[in-house]
């Protein structure tokens, strides 16, 4: 066996580490540094150290807790439907379906489209008077139109619908990959034992899928929690009346509309801590069995 020199792995890792330092850790450190200062429009060039003041402002503002609640609802509802729709479609597609390749391509389409194009198209469809959705509701189902853009509740439902539509293909593709890796012998054995469809799903498919699915769901949680584009574009920056924000869109608004850079930095450090706690917990709880 050929043995590489001891420093060889570091040489190989070097470029990746350097890039990570540059584009992740340095900005992160800068962000943390900024969160202890008072950089804003009034103190743009002459900001100074203010200790934990920005953190006190963030945690003392009821807005933070409202946004946190909304972020959790946003993430949970999205993930639930991503998993439900994605896994169901994958199970259907995995079976003997005619034109499987076509369906697969069609269903991956939402994922392949640039997010902002989808989001803006959906925004048009949500228009109360002339949008496709309300026209269908009114003309085909004789239901009253829904105030998608003016009622705070529906204005929050709208981006959730869009994000579900955008997100299920990822879970579907991952599940399809997982399904094709399950040995057929397991199903044959289950058939010999006379297992029903549900028993096979419960005892063969699901446990075999979990190691593939759980990292995808953990990733999905972080992505969804931090998803700025969809909610920002569909609600046009939090409309109506800044009532469709989640934490990240609110941070964006505070930083780039009001130039309250240090406050926004403290806000994002808090979000980072929350997500890190979640990740540590989630990795330990649902990591693949062999890693335990």
């Amino acid at each position: 066996m050929i043995r590489a020199p001891r420093w060889y792995p570091y040489l190989m890792l070097g470029p990746a580490i350097a890039i990570m330092l540059l584009v992740v850790f340095l900005p992160l450190l800068y962000n943390i540094w900024l969160s202890f200062r008072n950089m804003s429009l009034a103190h743009f060039m002459d900001h100074s150290f203010v200790g934990l003041r920005q953190y006190a402002l963030v945690l003392g503002d009821p807005v933070f807790y409202v946004m946190l609640g909304k972020s959790i609802v946003w993430t949970a509802v999205n993930l639930l439907f991503h998993a439900l729709v994605g896994v169901s479609l994958a199970l259907l597609l995995h079976g003997p379906v005619r034109g499987k390749a076509w369906f697969r391509a069609l269903l991956v389409l939402p994922w392949a489209m640039p997010q902002y194009i989808s989001a803006l198209t959906w925004r048009g469809m949500f228009n109360a008077e002339y949008g496709a959705i309300n026209l269908v509701l009114r003309q085909w189902f004789h239901l009253p139109g829904i105030p998608w853009q003016t009622d705070p509740f529906w204005a929050f439902v709208a981006p959730i619908l869009v994000n579900i539509w955008l997100g299920f293909p990822f879970i579907m593709v991952v599940t399809l990959g997982g399904l094709s890796a399950i040995p057929v012998a397991l199903y044959e054995a289950a058939d010999l034992d006379g297992a029903s469809w549900w028993q096979k799903f419960r005892n063969v498919t699901w446990p075999q899928l979990l190691p593939v699915l759980s990292p995808a769901l953990i990733l999905g949680t972080v992505w969804t929690f931090n998803n700025l584009n969809v909610i920002w574009l569909v609600s046009q920056g939090g409309q109506p009346g800044d009532r469709t924000h989640i934490l990240v869109t609110y941070i964006y608004k505070v930083a780039f509309s009001y130039s309250r850079y240090s406050y926004a930095a403290a806000f994002s450090v808090v979000v980072l801590i929350l997500l890190s706690i979640f990740l540590l917990f989630a990795m330990r709880k649902i990591a693949p069995a062999e890693a335990r």
């Binding site: 804003s40 743009f44 105030p147 800044d242």
Partner: protein, 420 residues
Amino acid sequence: MMRRVHAPVPAAVAFVVLLVTSVLVPLLSGCAPRRGSADGPIVVWVQMDPDEKARFDRNLEAWRAAHPDEKVDVLTFDTENLRQQFQTQAAAGAGPDLVFGPSDQVGPLSLVRLLRPLDTTLPAGFFDRFVPASLDTLDGHLWQAPDQLGNHLMLLYNRKLVPVPPTTHAELVATGRRLTARAGKPDATYGFVLNTSEPYWLAPYLGGFGGWVLDGSRKPTLDTPAMVAALRYLKSLRDEAGIMPREADYQVAETLFKEGRAAMIVNGPWAIGGYRSAGIDLGVAPLPRLPNGNWPQPMIASKGYSISVNVPEAKLPRVVELVTYLTGDEAQRRDVAKLGFFPSSAAAFGDSSLLADPVLAGAREALGRGRRMPVVPEMRVVWDAMRPNLQDVMNGAKTPEHAAADMQATATAQITALAE
């Protein structure tokens, strides 16, 4: 279990440090401030509509013909990005020499001391040839050399449907009702549309009822009887007069008018070109008087050039020469009739040939009813405080009184936060 291999840590650390510095140093030196270099191209960042940009390009061509050795680099941004990018770059000592945009971007930029005060940078008497209404003084200085004046809301009407524009509230309602049919149905037609989701469209009515957004000391004045009256008026045009669609943002209003399904729209001069090319037989007039007999007061604003603090003294004369040309009479007159806004140069503004076109004459009359939009940084907060509350009044979630009080509370709190 796998045997762990322990590498000599110091060597690895040294290696990473070496690698990082070898990547970092060239990178950082690449974006280091170019402060002090007198030669090199003049860099201009602009926010312009397509027609405006076409005019700018023709002006630049003329300038280059007269200055064959000069190189000018132009980069286009949208309004928000222009401000953000300039703020970030200029603070780091880099960024463009000239920045062109709406007058209200000056508020945040000068506050952070990123612009040169133009009254002391440009030659004495430079601003004498401008229409006074096109100039803004902030903290005792002028920060922008305008090349246009306008941006005011006015009544644009389809002359096929409205031969004579209404000038009073009663006429507006009568004409509007005559032309509104099947309201709420997909094939409805409306007499009157306006973007009810943006507070810029509320401002003329606020002014007409005797109020305004800020007082002389830059404190918000939103919780006033005038604001309550303006909110109630806008809502009553829809709910009582019944001449407007239930919900209309900019896009909806624009589409209805372009398709000939709305007879009158409230919009700015920037929309004139688009309506004409959509085949609308267009007329323009000031917004009709309010029930109290006053004219609504649309906000007026200019756009123009500001000079970055980072322009070195040695380069300044070249930059000043370019600004002088771009805001000069020749450049301002070029294609101005096509653009829908008015020149800020007094000579060009007073040119009667501009008023030969009835649409421009109407726009000019509407301009005369306007009032300058404040350029102070507090305006951004004021808009954000007004927007949700205006929307809440229109969708019935708040009474005008409640909304006015909330606007004031939000604006006051946010202005305090801005100063943190």
